[in-house]
Amino acid sequence: MARIDLVDLAHSYGGNAAAPESFALKPVTMTWRQGGAYALLGPSGCGKTTLLNLISGIVTPSRGKILFDGVDITPLSTQKRNIAQVFQFPVIYDTMTVGQNLAFPLKNRGVPKGEIDARVAQIARLLDLAPDLNRKATRLTADAKQKISLGRGLVRSDVAAVLFDEPLTVIDPELKWQLRSKLKALHRDLDLTMIYVTHDQTEALTFADTVVVMHDGRVVQSGTPAELFEKPAHTFVGYFIGSPGMNIVPAQVRGREARIDGHTIALTRSYDALPPGARIEVGVRPEFVDVALPAPDLLSANIERVDDLGRIRFARVRVGDAKFSARVPPGFSVQGESAGLKFDPSHVHVYADSLLVEGAA
């Protein structure tokens, strides 16, 4: 249990001399509080596993420091860091029973037998492994094996943090959902700091209080799921989170107006001080754009198809050359190809070189 501080932490597999752009993890400084549930979210190769391995000590950083409760632990080995980690593929010790597997991390640290038994029993109960405690671990299914791996990660009560590296990859979708809720419940029960790496936004958004979105070795935004949804700090966050992702189109922005494809949209904030020469884009989530009948005051668009997701319908439309997704309001029936797009001005954001610009009120 600890607060974790990352201070100017960076890593390159090619050593410190490598070009800054080639770093697998570009310098990052952030603080994770004790007992929080964090998710590192991003596509493959974005550096999230590197960051995790830096924290657990499997990889030594090229630069920067990691502090647990203010103590610099960067030079310490994995064993001395007091960290638990669960890997993508189940790791079980073949010759041991389920119970012995769960007890292994405690036994190695010389915890008294009575304490081990109590803790193993508790974890086994929480993970529904209690009936299997005396079975050989090799004979179990992949799901059960991964549960054992999770259990070994959670069995120590004194760890600084429990790290999960895409732990549900091998699990069936049905069980995945169950295990995720279970993890969430375990987080509440055990009061452990948990850091969860995933490329699945649903997993990240349901598990974590704070989601850290990574892209190309950089942390592009860290915030609650609602913040990521409503106010993406980077166009990458916009289209990576949400399904369909945020619409991002080039535009000319002046004052409280944005011009897209010759049409003017009102903005709720004023953007006078945009950096000169920057690539200006407007971003708006499909949930905040409605398809309507064509009208002179609406941005005109061509409907290409309508996706019915059951609860909600999205139209895929084309505005000039740009592709757009927009909500089809309940009761609205699409006729013909042309339509108008109605924007909710309070949810239209302006991006300069992919970064969110906070307008003036």
Binding site: Q85, V91, Y93, F104, N108, R139, S149, R152
Partner: protein
């Protein structure tokens, strides 16, 4: 469905049948024939029924005494070299580098003894151990040890065992190394995080993951050492006395030294039978170990 009936296909099997008949079945039957008869040369044979087999298994007779003595000697030899080569092979494999240029160097060095013809290995050690001109023998004697594999039973045994260890530990090491290489990194990382000591990593991860290749290594080394002939024959010729006369050496002595074809045939049949039985036991054990794993995979598939 209509099947084309064409019995001419049997002709395609014929070449194989003939080759196997001439290379295996006929010689084996000749041996079975000899084992029931006695001969005094001149191509004259006398029927002896199962007489040789009875004698072979009766330690009070000359033949039985020699066979059983060489059999126990051979089993003891196999046990000793397994007890040395398997742990040593594991240690060598564990201390080998895991990546980089040095891996190739280590593999080549390890493979060298395996590439040397057996009688050359015998000759190398025969000369190496000679007290007058051999480096090993000369050095040991000048250190005050009275080492002479020609006259001393213990020295002869030590030489034959060290030679076999030198020749074959590489095989065990290479097999173990292959087994070790197949362990994913995640296992080592997990063990690190679980705070496992070096010994715990070996016991909980490396040894269990190596058990298949170890079984193969034990099988190969047992069969090979049980059939050993060339190297001890070249070094000690089975001596001093009969102290390093293993089963195959005894067999050759009877068959070619004394020209007792009947006795030799009976002995070789029993020898063959022992080898087949041991092979079968190993095969069963190994396939059963595999079945256990397959059941788990099937369960996964059904899910």
């Amino acid at each position: 469905m209509d099947k084309t009936i064409n019995q001419k296909a049997w002709f395609l099997v014929l070449p194989v049948f003939l080759v196997v008949a001439f290379s295996a079945v006929l010689p084996l039957m000749t041996v079975v024939n000899y084992s029931m008869q006695d001969t005094f040369g001149n191509n004259q044979f006398f029927w002896n029924g199962v007489g040789w087999f009875k004698e072979l298994l009766d330690p009070t007779t000359d033949l039985g005494g020699r066979f059983l003595a060489s059999l126990w000697r051979n089993l003891f030899f196999s046990a000793v070299i397994l007890a040395i080569e398997v742990p040593l092979g594991i240690v060598v494999a564990l201390s080998m580098p895991r990546q980089g240029f040095s891996v190739a160097v280590c593999l080549v060095i390890l493979a060298l003894p395996l590439l040397i013809p057996w009688n050359v290995v015998g000759t190398i050690w025969q000369i190496f151990g000679r007290p007058d001109i051999g480096l090993l023998g000369y050095v040991l004697n000048s250190l005050g040890l009275n080492y002479n594999y020609v006259s001393n039973d213990l020295d002869a045994w030590a030489t034959v065992i060290v030679m076999d260890v030198w020749h074959w530990t590489s095989l065990v090491a290479l097999l173990c190394y292959a087994g070790l290489k197949s362990i994913p990194d995640a296992y080592y990382q997990a063990a690190q995080i679980d705070g496992a000591s070096r010994w715990a990593v070996f016991k909980a991860i490396q040894l269990p993951k190596m058990n298949r290749v170890l079984l193969i290594a034990v099988l190969l080394r047992f069969m090979d050492s049980f059939m050993i002939y060339t190297e001890p024959f070249v070094v000690t010729g089975g001596g001093p006395g009969n102290s390093t006369t293993f089963v195959s050496i005894e067999l050759v002595k009877i068959a070619l030294g004394q020209f007792d074809l009947g006795k030799a045939a009976a002995l070789s049949l029993v020898y063959n039978l022992i080898i087949i039985i041991v092979c079968w036991i190993f095969y069963t054990v190994m396939t059963n170990a595999g079945v256990e794993r397959r059941v788990v995979v099937d369960k996964k598939g059904v899910k």
